[in-house]
């Protein structure tokens, strides 16, 4: 055999390993799993946004045929309220108790008050209608700014305020920055409430037997779930197994410890029966945490020649009724990148978190960074208009110098690498604004919008985010175990918990190159705390930059051992063994080598191993990154607005993104496509709307308008590749980038379209009605 230098697997757009089971309908999501003796559960939920519970009559429900038990809040003898794990550093937060079932008072529509368990999926729903709750309604507040005014109804009377916390992050001399400005633009930027919208609703199957709990849940964080189940139920963690089976999307909405998970585990222990609950969509829109929901007062100052001198943001963040896992810190994540891709000498973000009678907000795809990017990218267009300067020229004058990386921003965050002008230049290779304008159809108002962005991801360096740093009560390292079987087949165990990202493929590509094998021979196992090492899950665009790097490191350890075995058996120097042509071969003598299968055979039948070497071929690595990673890019959006109807068509969307060297370009493009549409959805269609009584108006998919295929165009994507110095792969995250980048591109395009009519600014959502009204106001 002649050894040749094979094309590496890393960088190839190979088809996904995940797909056969998914396209054949053979995957197993929570609701596809049933166990012998299983009961069904449903929750009785409050129709009141705020009320005292005077009484709950469960007698009729208990008598309903097939019902096994009905539990209310006081039945659940749990050790603690539901967890909240992240308080911004240096402050106290008001944290009202949040129970898996409300005890004496409900604080939002959908707050669960009773749990009905029975033999049949349909019967428990019938029985739940027989639970009679006597509520004494209390005053309701849903408007976040109204909630801060004196005399507002209080969500939690005992706190005496709706204010949860205040927190600031700044750097540089803000006062001097504004004093040096010739122009100051101020805008009220609204980033309205949205839903995660994973197409698989949540679901839980709790199975407690013989002192041990197995809980299968549609979650992004099985390891956190195991920890909190153990703490809440008082079971030793080693007796708890959490499983994330196939998970049908998350987008942050399944980065949570939900009351339903805790309540089902408790009830399964109580009844000694497995119990399943599957969320309905309308239930999910009421009770699966929402995202965004900020009102921000933004001030940006600049000199006449377009140098930004100061950027100040006051964010009023609607947290909803309770603090869930990460609720109070989500707005703070945006503060890290508030100045975006610009070199601004003075930056300050002031945040006030506010309770309202709605379900909590928490992480939804981007979590704080879409809001920050939206503010700066919308305001830079506003500033350009004020200065009479080209929008891209203004951006270029303020881009961070590519020679200055790693670049410390005014607030002390160190961006790892970037070339923002490079991404913009690449975008303009594909995009000719003059040609776009010239091609505008008659009767339509054509607008062009841009967004140049960076974001902070790859969560996270534990010393920065941890308890003595940014206040998260955990580390954020990741782990991997790589096991080469005696045949040379490879199993990888990752602590991440992918749910659509394609990490089984991405990680297999990383491993295949290092072991001289093919991704087909590498199986990636995830989402089960009983297999593999401790891990932390999938969110924050961390799974390749942190999880993938831990896989790379564990594989490097395996490869090191393999090299030593080969060197020993072939009587060569360890340093002379390299992976080439699918083998571990001796440098300069490529015919002399061993395949990973031959090496594994030698490792598991240890007749001829180096002195003191343990048999076997598997390794474990934990990796805690030294910094975050900072993907970036430039997006352009073209819209046609119909001035008669206010309807917006996104007619063209071009995006250049940089997430470092691509491992699988096909999967990266998929992440960007999905992210952009998620953002277009928010910009144009989606809005969680509560009326003033706290009733959720957009409570079904008929009212909460996820974009469909007919609402969006195809996309034109390109990439630049600027490696990150943070990890050995050079990679950055990409799961959230599209969502972070795209809302301002859409909004800037719509405002650009309306500018000839005298409209200078408007907020999302850019519904036809709102645009039409804005046009009418501008006319009059």
């Amino acid at each position: 055999m002649t050894a040749t230098v094979a094309e590496p697997w890393v960088g190839r757009p190979i088809k996904r390993k995940e797909d056969p089971r998914l396209i054949m309908g053979r995957a197993r999501y929570v609701d596809d799993i049933n166990v012998t003796g299983q009961l069904w559960a449903t929750f009785v939920r409050s129709p009141e946004a705020h009320a005292k519970i005077l009484s709950i009559d469960t007698s009729a429900a208990r008598e309903y045929p097939g019902v096994r038990a009905v539990f209310t809040g006081h039945d659940l003898d749990l050790a603690a309220p539901l967890p909240m794990a992240w308080v911004p550093p240096g402050i106290e937060v008001n944290n009202p108790p949040h129970w898996a079932l409300a005890k004496d008072e409900v604080h939002h529509v959908g707050d669960p008050v009773a749990l009905v368990i029975g033999d049949d999926r349909y019967a428990v729903v019938d029985a739940a209608a027989q639970v009679f709750v006597d509520y004494d309604p209390l005053p309701v507040v849903t408007d976040v700014e109204a909630a801060l005014t004196d005399g507002s109804p209080l969500v939690h009377e005992e706190l005496g305020t709706n204010r949860c916390h205040e927190w600031s992050l700044g750097g540089g001399d803000l006062e001097a920055g504004f004093a040096a400005a010739d122009v100051i633009v101020e805008r009220r930027v609204v980033n309205h409430r949205t839903a995660g919208g994973a197409i698989e609703p949540r679901g839980v199957l709790a199975d407690y037997r013989a002192g041990a709990l197995t809980l299968t849940s549609s979650t992004q964080v099985p390891h956190f779930l195991r920890l909190f189940l153990a703490l809440q139920l008082g079971i030793s963690e080693d007796r708890v197994r959490a499983i994330a089976p196939e998970v049908g999307g998350g987008f942050g909405s399944k980065l949570q410890i939900y009351g339903e998970e805790i309540a089902l585990a408790w009830a399964s222990r109580k009844l000694e029966r497995p119990i399943k609950w599957i969320e309905t969509r309308s239930e999910g829109l009421l009770t699966t945490h929402h995202g965004r929901d900020q009102v921000a007062y933004v001030r940006v100052g600049a000199t006449r020649d377009g140098k930004i001198t100061a950027f100040h943001t006051k964010i009023i963040a609607d947290l909803g009724a309770y603090l869930m896992l990460l609720t109070p810190t989500i707005p703070s994540l945006g503060a890290f990148v508030m100045s975006g891709v610009y070199d601004i000498p003075a930056v300050q973000t002031d945040i006030v978190g506010v309770f309202t009678n709605k379900i909590s907000t928490d992480a939804i795809r981007g979590a704080g960074r879409p809001e920050a990017t939206h503010m700066i990218e919308v305001c830079i267009d506003q500033l350009a208009a004020e200065l009479g300067m080209d929008r891209l020229e203004l951006r270029r004058r303020n881009f961070i110098d590519p020679a200055s990386f790693p670049h410390e921003t005014a607030i002390g965050v160190v961006y790892d690498s970037g070339n923002y002008a490079g991404a913009l230049d690449k975008l303009l290779e594909h995009f000719d604004a003059d040609a776009e304008r010239a091609a505008a159809p008659a009767g339509k108002l054509r607008g062009i919008g841009y967004s140049t962005y960076t974001e902070i991801c790859g969560l996270a360096p534990s010393r920065v985010t941890g308890p003595s740093g940014f206040g998260l009560q955990t580390g954020l390292w990741e782990s991997a175990m790589v096991r080469v079987h005696i045949t040379g087949a490879v199993t990888v165990y990752t602590g991440t918990s992918p749910h659509g990202q394609g990490l089984e493929t991405t990680m297999a590509q990383i491993v295949a190159d290092k072991l001289g094998t093919s991704p087909e021979n590498v199986e990636v196992i995830h989402g089960d705390t009983a297999t593999g090492p401790q891990g932390l899950g999938t969110y924050g665009s961390r799974s390749t930059a942190v999880g993938g790097e831990s896989v790379a490191r564990a594989t490097d350890k395996v490869a090191d051992k393999a090299r030593r075995i080969v060197a020993h058996q072939l009587e060569a120097a360890v340093d002379d063994i390299e992976v080439i042509g699918g083998r571990f071969a001796v440098k300069g003598s490529p015919d002399k080598g061993m395949t990973i299968g031959e090496i594994a055979g030698a490792a598991y039948i240890p007749e001829n191993l180096p002195e003191d070497m343990e048999p076997g071929l598997e390794e474990l690595a934990f990796y805690d990154p030294s910094n975050f990673v900072f993907p970036f890019g430039a997006h352009a959006c073209v819209v046609d607005v119909d001035p008669e109807t206010g309807n917006v068509d996104v007619v063209r969307y071009v995006a250049v993104d940089d997430c470092g060297p691509a491992i699988n370009p096909k999967l990266i493009a998929g992440q960007v496509h999905g992210g952009i549409v998620h953002a277009i959805g928010q910009a144009l269609f989606e809005q969680i709307h509560y009326n003033e009584d706290g009733q959720l108006v957009t409570g079904t998919f008929a009212d909460y308008a996820l974009p469909s295929a007919a609402d969006v165009p195809s996309f034109e994507l390109d990439r630049t590749e600027t490696p990150s110095p943070v990890n050995s792969l050079g990679v950055k995250g990409v799961g959230e980038a599209g969502t972070i980048a795209a809302t301002p591109a859409v909004l800037n395009a719509v405002v650009d379209a309306l500018r000839p009519l005298g409209v200078g600014y408007m907020n999302m959502p850019l519904s036809s009605m709102r645009i039409w009204e804005t046009i009418q106001e501008a006319k009059s």
Partner: protein, 155 residues
């Protein structure tokens, strides 16, 4: 409550009969009575299309029909579309063009796409997008789904 009703239908070429609650949804009959869990439920208002199957050759949302309404019908689910080594061209195209991520909407997308291609074997991009407007996907942004359907049409 009314007593059970007898329903019979041909599912993926196999005759199936069962006594079911009159209100049993077709999707629950397929998933729970027959164990064909490839058909999914993603909403309760017929918007998401994850439950799309073929009834007498046409795409229907199986969450919006009672099992009893499908009595006597021929049903095809994702499990009837192709097998390992003999995938349906749409399954091949979704795989090849990365037309899925989490996979939850995928069976419905494939069934809706097959319905389109049976009526219109060579659709335009716009026709594909209109035909799939009743099937929601949160992961892919539809770009690669549309690409896959167009590729399957040419396969």
């Amino acid at each position: 409550m009314a007593g059970p009703v007898r329903v019979s239908m041909t599912v993926n070429g196999t005759q199936q009969s069962a006594d079911v609650e009159p209100r049993l949804l077709l999707v629950h009959f397929l998933r729970e009575t027959l164990g064909l869990t490839g058909t999914h439920v993603g909403c309760d208002t017929s918007n998401c299309g994850a439950c799309t199957v073929h009834l007498n050759g046409e795409a229907v949302k199986s969450c919006t029909l009672l099992a009893a309404q499908a009595d006597g019908a021929e049903i095809t689910t994702i499990e009837g579309m192709g097998q390992e080594g003999a995938l349906h061209p749409l399954q091949e195209a979704f795989w090849e063009h990365h037309g899925l991520q989490c996979g939850y909407c995928t069976p419905g997308m494939i069934m809706a796409s097959a319905d389109l291609l049976s009526r219109n074997p060579h659709p335009t991009e716009g026709e594909v997008r209109e035909a799939l407007a009743g099937n929601l996907c949160r992961c892919t942004g539809y770009h690669n789904i549309v690409k896959a359907v167009l590729a399957a049409a040419e396969a």
